[in-house]
């Protein structure tokens, strides 16, 4: 197989078809006219930003600006229907007759709907498609939903807002992001982070590409922009993601940035000031950890709260300008942000510059460009499982021993000596050509690149005695680039009538190059030394990964009477990481969407109770490609005494292929009670076949492990979303929404391989959830009711008998927003999680210093005589904490200053907002699952815990980790 030639030939065919299908557009004999107007909420009169206005049957359209205004030029004279769609509103349609060279003005008042079927999505659909036609659920977040969200990274935007998303934070430190997981754990090796596209370009979504400083890793999600987002579309794997092929098993998130709006320049300036207040609920503090210091005159039992943690200042400045002509628009913005962090030596500085420029080159051709530059510099502390972590050392009673000091202040000074900094430079660029030669045919070509360079540097000066290295510097540099190419053309014929058809053909691919180099210098003779060149011993290494993934897809969508939509498609995929014997991988999809409430019989009968009902069913396959070069048999070498010493490396597997996830999903979208309450329900069953396991080779061969496609994993679950518009009056609106998600995960086939651990105490075995707890626990072997032995086994909940797992199996959220007098908007969002159990290593480590955070059980002998207490290794299950929680995640208030109050100020609009994040956390009063007596609140169950770089994170083990802080922000936004 010459994959390049095959793919290129395929792409060429696609390109030629796209061009040749382009019939000449109807001749516009007369001078075109202009359609302008506004789009507002029918109830409140609030202008709707970002609504899509299209002149039906032409290629002319526009987006509304912040005042809800739009202007469409080049509209042929004559009678037209103009459609407006936007998320959360019913479609608006108005007829207009345009004289040659004339201007028509339209005023749209859109009715809010609780269930969204009119919005348009493009991710995974080949072309823009109304949601009513979708057979699989695609989540959408509009700018209205996210612009006030007090978040610092993209993962937080999803938290509580997307049904079926489990989002778990790492800690309070900068540069990190949360773990995102849709629809359960589908792989035992691959990161479950969804693929992320920005304006059609695949961007780096990796985490842990750098040093692990004790179980906390930095993430490239932290430098994906969170401002100037127009819309986010989310597919959670399965049929909705099939067109992305071998990269999409974990789902696809696509971010669309704000485009320019024609007209005079409109300037937006924003200033935010804030405070980050440490969450101290889980801190035991020095009074507990250092009881022997009680009589010391300077001893502060609240040392951690008072002298280690602090309130950090946050500031953020934004300036944006948009404008342009009918031929070309622009939208440019810049942002500066600084945060101090709630621990010493935690701070971050972020600069972002971005711009979008769209040019209508001709009636049938437009070119869109967007790009951004981000510079993110931040400093962290050692964390989690590192003995150099000051917080852990303080909390488990270690800090005096390891620092060699006799009081906490001097010990902390030692612990604050290391410098851990990271600098990220990132450039993302996207260019899209939209060629629409005819209403029957639309096509686009996108080319783009994401380039990210990060440098991490850890300096432990010679005085840092904790690790005994006598000075050390570690540096990690990585260059990542990804190039995306995406061609698609859609042929719509017939476009009207009882049967409509839409056929899309596309070619899509990307190439990723990831090159990293890292080095360690150890041993300095003098304080102040810190460069490699001054170290006694210097080692260096590098890694390279290159991946190409490309494919061609075909998709046919058949509409019957504009209410029943049938869909069938297939993607053929090739990836450079596939083994030699593996050719193209085929991913089929098929689906059905039935808008049954559009049937004539509906409205007079069931329609009285259920206003809108769409039924949907879809089947689709996606994949996860293996890591680069895993298929190759290799030797590796390392230096030893002046020689390069070879040894066996990867055994090689010519049959290596992607994991395949086939998903069947059924669901409905319904609007009831006069369309005031919307329900979205999805049931899914997703089975991963050819699951990749690292299979140990026989030690007799001297070979280690080889990745092989031998496993099978199943995830079954439901996703439910409810959205209720409880009050809708011109002066007051009140919405409440909630999501619920439950998933059941099981390894259904091990392919003959023995069970194995993916982390301490978390095991993979047939018939069990991925990573279910398997650990030592006390046992009564004599039947006298007293614990006298130890067993290594699965851990079951003492009350429910359920197998305990490290990740939640039920998550959900509840949110509400109230708008008063159009100007004041108040909102709240909370999310909850159930089913996870978390290993509390802090409790284990405290036992080394004879600190009892919980009481371990007493071990007896065979005669029932008490011997001693069990050690934590013998009673590992006693470290398990109940991971249930509810977090009041966000509170916000935004006041749009009325025009009459702005008065003679030189601004056109102004608003003030106050937001808070991580406001309160509610945890079970008794966290330990097994220990009877305990102090409550030992760990923050939201945190994902100890993470290892790169691959699957099931979470479930924490050291002492600082919760994300309470963040308060006061912002002022003005427009000119």
């Amino acid at each position: 197989v010459k994959p390049f030639r095959s793919l290129l030939a395929g792409a060429t065919v696609v390109a030629l078809i796209l061009v040749s299908l382009g019939a000449p557009p109807a001749e516009a004999q007369q001078e075109p006219g202009v359609v302008t107007g506004t789009v507002v909420d029918a109830t409140t009169g609030e202008p709707l930003r970002g609504a899509q206005v299209v002149v039906r049957g032409t290629q002319r359209g526009a987006l509304t600006d912040g005042d809800g205004a739009f202007r469409i030029t080049g509209v042929p004279a004559g009678a037209h229907n103009v459609d407006v769609t936007t998320i959360g509103y019913a479609r608006g349609t108005q007829a207009v007759t345009l004289a040659a060279g004339g201007t028509a003005e339209l005023a749209f008042q859109l009715r809010q709907t609780a269930v969204d079927v009119a919005g348009v999505v493009v991710t995974g659909t080949g072309t823009a498609v109304e949601r009513r036609e979708l057979s699989a659920d695609v989540g959408v977040l509009s700018s209205r939903q996210i612009e006030e969200a007090p978040v610092t990274d993209i993962s937080q935007l999803l938290q509580g807002r997307v049904s079926g998303a489990t989002v778990r934070a790492q800690s309070a430190q900068p540069g990190q992001a949360s773990n995102i997981n849709f629809r359960g754990i589908s792989s035992v090796f691959a990161s479950q982070t969804p693929v992320i596209y920005v304006d059609g370009v695949r961007v780096d979504n990796s985490s842990g590409r750098g040093f692990d400083i004790g179980g906390e890793v930095t993430s490239s999600l932290a430098d994906i922009l969170t401002t100037d987002i127009e819309r986010i579309e989310i597919t959670k794997g399965g049929a909705a993601s099939t067109l992305y092929g071998s990269e999409a098993a974990a789902g696809v998130i696509q971010i669309f940035t704000r485009r320019g709006i024609a007209g005079a320049p409109r300037i937006t300036a924003r200033m935010e000031q804030g405070l980050d207040v440490p969450e101290t609920k889980f801190i035991q503090d020095a009074g507990f950890a250092y009881p022997f210091l009680e009589d010391e005159p300077d001893f502060n039992p609240n040392f951690v709260r008072d002298e280690f943690l602090r309130t950090g200042h946050f500031q953020n400045y934004y300036l944006g300008v948009t404008g342009g002509t009918e031929a070309a628009t622009y939208n440019v913005s810049g942002r500066m942000q600084h945060s101090e962090g709630v621990q010493p030596k935690n701070d971050g500085t972020l600069f972002t510059l971005r711009g979008a420029m769209d040019a209508n080159v001709r009636d049938d051709l437009s070119l869109d460009f967007s790009g951004s530059y981000t510079r993110n510099n931040f400093n962290r502390l050692f964390s989690g499982v590192a003995i150099s972590d000051p917080l852990t050392a303080l909390e488990v009673g270690d800090i005096l021993f390891f620092s060699g000091q006799s009081n906490l202040r001097d010990a902390l000074d030692v612990y604050l000596l290391p410098e851990i900094g990271e600098a990220v430079n990132r450039i993302t660029f996207s260019s899209t050509a939209n060629y629409t030669p005819s209403p029957l045919f639309t096509s686009r070509a996108t080319v783009g690149v994401d380039f990210r360079a990060n440098e991490q540097r850890i300096l432990e000066p010679i005085d840092f005695v904790v690790t005994g290295d006598e000075g050390r510097v570690d540096r990690f540099n990585r260059d990542f680039s990804s190039v995306t190419l995406d061609l698609a053309g859609t042929f719509r014929y017939p476009r009207e009538g009882p049967v409509t058809s839409r056929f899309t053909i596309g070619a899509q691919g990307f190439r990723e190059d990831d090159s990293a180099m890292w080095g360690t210098g150890r041993g300095y003779s003098l304080p102040g030394f810190g460069h490699f060149g001054t170290a006694a011993d210097i080692t260096a290494n590098e890694s390279t990964s290159q991946i190409f993934n490309g494919g061609i897809y075909l998709l046919e969508n058949l509409g019957l009477w504009d209410r029943l939509f049938l869909e069938a498609g297939v993607r053929f995929d090739w990836n450079s990481a596939f083994g030699e014997t593996v050719g193209f991988e085929t991913y089929p999809k098929a689906g059905l969407a039935y808008n049954i409430s559009d049937e004539d019989f509906w409205q007079p009968t069931i329609g009285r109770f259920v206003d809108v009902l769409k039924l949907r069913a879809a089947y689709g396959a996606t994949g996860t490609f293996p890591p680069a070069f895993e298929r190759d048999a290799t030797l590796v070498a390392s230096p030893f005494r002046g020689e390069s010493a070879p040894r066996f490396d990867n055994p090689g597997n010519p049959d290596l292929r992607p994991e395949r996830v086939a998903t069947l999903e059924l669901g409905f979208d319904a609007g009831i009670l006069d369309d005031r309450v919307g329900l979205t329900f999805t049931w899914y069953d997703a089975t991963t076949t050819d699951a990749l396991f690292f299979v140990p080779e026989q030690p007799a061969t001297g070979l280690t492990t080889q990745m092989r496609n031998i496993g099978e994993i199943n995830n079954r679950g439901v996703e439910l979303g409810v959205n209720a518009n409880l009050v809708r009056t011109p002066r007051v609106t009140w919405n409440v929404n909630a999501t619920y998600n439950a998933v059941r995960n099981e390894v259904t086939d091990m392919g003959g391989q023995e069970a194995f651990n993916i982390d301490a105490g978390r095991r993979v075995d047939e018939g069990m959830p991925v990573g279910a707890y398997y650990m030592n626990h006390p046992l009564d072997t004599t039947g006298d009711g007293l614990l006298d032995g130890i067993a290594l086994d699965w851990i079951r909940h003492p009350d429910t008998d359920e197998i305990l797992i490290p990740f939640p199996d039920r998550t959900g959220s509840i949110g509400t927003d109230v708008t008063l007098f159009r100007n004041l908007r108040l909102s709240a969002l909370g999310d909850w999680s159930r089913g996870a159990s978390i290993i509390d290593y802090g409790t284990a480590w405290a036992t080394f210093n004879a600190l009892d955070r919980i009481d371990f059980p007493t071990r007896h002998d065979a005669d029932g005589e008490p011997l001693r207490t069990y050690s934590y290794t013998e009673a590992f299950n006693y470290l398990l904490m109940d991971g249930n929680f509810f977090k009041l995640r966000e509170l916000s208030a935004r006041y749009g200053v009325p025009a009459n109050l702005i008065g003679r100020l030189p601004v056109e609009r102004a608003s003030v907002y106050l937001t808070a994040r991580n406001v309160a956390i509610f945890t079970p009063s008794h966290q330990p699952i097994f220990a009877d007596e305990a102090r409550p609140n030992l760990i923050d169950p939201e945190l994902v815990g100890v993470s290892s770089p790169g691959q699957l994170q099931v979470g479930g083990a924490q050291s002492i980790t600082l919760s994300p802080p309470r963040q308060f922000r006061l912002g002022i936004e003005v427009g000119f």
Binding site: A15, F548, S576, T634, R641, S644, F648, P696, N849
Partner: protein, 507 residues
């Protein structure tokens, strides 16, 4: 808009409607043409690692593999020392960095993490890899390599022989090829002998041949072949009466793993039996070499042959020779910050005025404990509490000589990976081998450790009393805290069970 502008606009439109096809066709043709250009191929990836094809293209492939064998030999030695020293009575594992099971040989099941690893402490893994890498060099690479030399092959056979020897001493059984049946420890030792002889055959003279002979003396001892053991031992002593062959280590590359747990880590997991405290830490830097073959061991093999033959008076002389040589070995001073902390945070004996006895029936002896933290004397090659003259003159019974023999081996070969074999303990195959091997049943006898019945259970080899002398002293509970009694004197047990304990007699 005036008429001419309108016309122009219309013309532009007309043009524009015609033009898209031509560029598209050109672009299409360009794309097809690109299919022939490899430089433009985005699917092309280059694995920067060495593949089997690269080896085939190497000019001196056998010579190129030898540094790999040297490095793997260094890994195998340090892993063997780490595991066997803690499983034996020499060291116990305190604090948290290593598997707790290492403290009790009866707990050494195939799953023990520190043992069933492919990392630095994986004795089983690293010996298998040394053997497999040697197999690859000797059986796959060398036959097709015209540039392979006798020197190179002698070295390769030596490493494979050492892999088999250390497996034969320490492991109950192990397969030696893909899908192979486990070979018994005797078969492993026989293969070791064959490779070491092959090494000698390739290169009968020089330093390397002395190492091979020393290994052959050790292998024949393990096989119970007294005559050949004595013969090779004598040859070694004849060739180099002060032989020391040590495996060096290198900073940042391959470091002395025991050093990490003896010195480097703040928790200092490896804590010696108090009567051996004076010998700790033998390796005080990350580069400290680990002795592999020493003349002292040859003397002790001769002593054991004599003891096995009933000539305990002759044995006494050989032991004295070994002790005398050991006492000439260099020492150095090292500032040890080891505070001698137990798992339960109590303090172990750490003052040089402590008196220690090997068990309740033995006399208290001074000088076995050095004061710490602080500067200590380090015996980098050999150290012993025995005195050559005393051995010659004061040992008057066979039992005393046997006891002195085991003590001499324990002290002189301390931290060299011999003690567990001397105790007769054999480790099981690792869990990976049992799970992945198609012909290895979970019920295979070598899926369990082998521990002679004279080895006490529950890690009692490591026990002493009082177990926390300083706490008791602080509490004023015990006036005799300067006297430490080890619970079991394993050398006494070995002497009493000499017929079963000595490899020369037990096989």
């Amino acid at each position: 808009m005036d008429a001419s502008t309108m016309k122009e606009t219309a013309m532009n439109r007309q043009q524009s409607r015609r033009t898209p096809r031509a560029p598209a066709v050109i672009a299409g043709a360009l794309l097809l043409a690109l299919a022939g250009c490899e430089w433009a191929d985005p699917t092309r990836v280059q694995n920067p690692q060495t593949t089997p094809e690269d080896i085939a293209a190497a000019r001196n492939p056998t010579a190129a593999m030898l540094p790999g064998l040297r490095a793997q030999f260094a890994r195998a030695i340090r892993a063997t020392v780490m595991i066997t020293e803690i499983v034996s009575d020499n060291y116990s594992n305190q604090r948290t960095g290593l598997s707790t099971e290492l403290n009790d040989p009866y707990d050494m099941i195939p799953d023990v993490t520190t043992y069933n690893t492919i990392g630095a402490t994986g004795l089983y893994w690293n010996l298998q890899e040394l053997r497999a890498l040697s197999d690859f060099t000797i059986d796959t690479i060398a036959p097709g390599d015209a540039t392979a030399t006798d020197e190179g092959l002698a070295e390769a056979h030596y490493y494979r022989g050492m892999a088999y020897l250390m497996q034969g001493e320490n492991v109950a059984a192990a397969p030696a090829e893909r899908d192979g049946e486990p070979l018994s420890h005797t078969e492993l030792l026989r293969r070791g002998v064959a490779d070491l002889e092959a090494s000698l055959g390739r290169l009968p003279g020089g330093d390397f041949a002395i190492r091979a002979r020393a290994a052959l003396a050790r292998a024949h001892r393990a096989l119970g072949e007294a005559g050949q053991a004595a013969s090779y031992a004598s040859e070694v002593l004849g060739a180099d009466p002060t032989l020391v062959f040590s495996q060096p280590y290198s900073t940042g590359e391959l470091e002395n793993t025991p050093w990490i747990y003896l010195v480097s880590r703040a928790l200092k997991e490896m804590q010696p039996l108090p009567r051996l405290d004076f010998l700790d830490p033998k390796y005080h830097s990350r580069e400290s070499p680990i002795p592999v073959a020493k003349a002292e061991e040859m003397h002790l093999i001769l002593a054991e042959v004599a003891l096995a033959g009933g000539s305990w008076q002759e044995a006494r002389g050989h032991i004295a020779d070994a002790v005398a040589l050991a006492r000439t070995r260099p020492t150095t001073t090292f500032n040890d910050d080891d505070a001698r902390v137990n798992r339960d945070l109590s303090i172990r004996p750490r003052d040089d005025d402590m008196l220690v006895r090997a068990d309740a029936d033995s006399p208290f002896r001074a000088g076995l404990v050095q004061s710490r933290p602080g500067p200590v004397t380090v015996y980098t090659i050999s150290g012993t509490s025995l005195n050559a003259d005393s051995v010659r003159t004061q040992l008057t019974t066979q039992m005393e000589v046997r006891h002195a023999f085991w003590l001499a081996r324990q002290e002189i070969l301390f931290l060299e990976g011999r003690r567990m074999h001397d105790l007769g303990i054999r480790l099981p195959m690792s869990r990976r081998e049992i799970d992945a091997g198609p012909h290895i049943s979970r019920d295979h006898p070598a899926a369990q450790p082998f521990v002679p019945d004279y080895v006490p259970t529950a890690g009692r080899m490591n026990n002493f009393s009082p177990d926390s002398p300083y706490t008791r002293r602080e509490l004023g509970e015990d006036p005799f805290t300067f006297e430490i009694t080890i619970e079991v004197d394993m050398n006494r047990r070995l002497a009493e069970h000499f017929d079963r304990a000595s490899p020369l007699l037990r096989n």
